[in-house]
Symmetry: C2
Subunit: 195 residues, 2 copies
């Protein structure tokens, strides 16, 4: 298990995400959190291949932090993308965009991708998890009430699955932890390969 495999390793989480921190804590891994400041806007014109886009950003973050630290460190980074109607939905810029995103997601399934990159010694592995998320139909009133909770503001796709947003999710197909931003089982697979 992860807490046994990583017991005596130096582990760095190259992400500022509190949800990724929580998930690594849940599985008993000890780590240092060093956010990687990568400009995601340079890459964001490429909406045609969300899988490749997520991989690129995860790799950039991982390489940046790995380059500044001992090669004995295990550096972990991730990038999560909400994909609907051939469009990558990032963090909404304003209330109009929150409204637009939630209307797009209402009553339909969308895809969440999370790429995880792990570097150790001179190796780096990156892989992607894919999960389908199905939203119930949202009434205009529900969207308004949801915006009032302020939850959508800083979330990719303008929703959080682990909060008020949970009541909108009819079902998912794939890894749940991917939707939270860190597919734990995929991470275990990568760690078993790289060590």
């Amino acid at each position: 298990m992860l807490h046994n495999i990583l017991q005596n390793k130096k582990v760095i989480l190259a992400s500022a995400s509190p949800r990724r921190k929580d998930l690594l804590n849940l599985v008993g891994v000890k780590f240092l959190q060093i956010p990687a400041d990568v400009d995601e806007t340079i890459l964001s014109s490429d909406h045609s291949n969300p899988r490749r886009y997520a991989k690129k950003i995860a790799l950039k973050k991982c390489e940046l932090i790995a380059g500044n630290n001992d090669i004995e460190c295990i550096v972990i980074s991730a990038d999560t993308i909400v994909y609907q109607n051939k469009k990558i939905l990032g963090k909404p810029k304003n209330f109009d965009e929150i409204n637009e995103y939630l209307t797009l997601l209402s009553g339909k399934s969308h895809i969440v991708y999370t790429a995880i990159a792990v570097s150790y010694k001179n190796n780096i592995i990156v892989d992607v998890a894919k999960t389908y998320v199905t939203f119930k139909h949202l009434e205009i009133d529900e969207i308004r009430q949801y915006i009032e909770t302020k939850e959508p503001i800083d979330k990719a796709g303008a929703y959080g699955i682990q909060g008020y947003g949970s009541q909108f999710i009819e079902k998912i197909n794939g890894c749940y932890f991917n939707v939270m931003g860190f597919p734990v089982n995929l991470f275990l697979q990568i760690i078993q390969k790289i060590l």
Copy 2:
């Protein structure tokens, strides 16, 4: 949304489960927690219909607490069942049973059912959510290490999806919150019907 609909209602959660309490808190519902002490062993011989079994127990819990309180109260109860190979897996009695359950779940999909019962005035509604959960293949060492974490001891099916167990879950199909013990979207649907 739930926190708006239930704003001025007296809500009772007839369950001792800390995970159900957390989920109701997450969606902003104010409630009183009054666990219903129902003897589940009387009913547990009926493994042939897990859906009916879960409904029976949720109803019993709901009726017990509703009977002791004002009919203006909204009383919520739930029962969660792990079902594999035509057998209901409850909380394991000892280490041998933990080992038996985890070996049964390894490398396969099982089903989790949660029945939710809600009573209000003279009505009661009960319904069931169904989710498929797929485990990775577990090595003997992984089962031993997982038992050492003590996480399986008090969990139906001998695993917790929200902890060390998360790394074993390859994918789910259905409501994730059902697997945590409280399918939030189903609860919203029931509340919209009963009020």
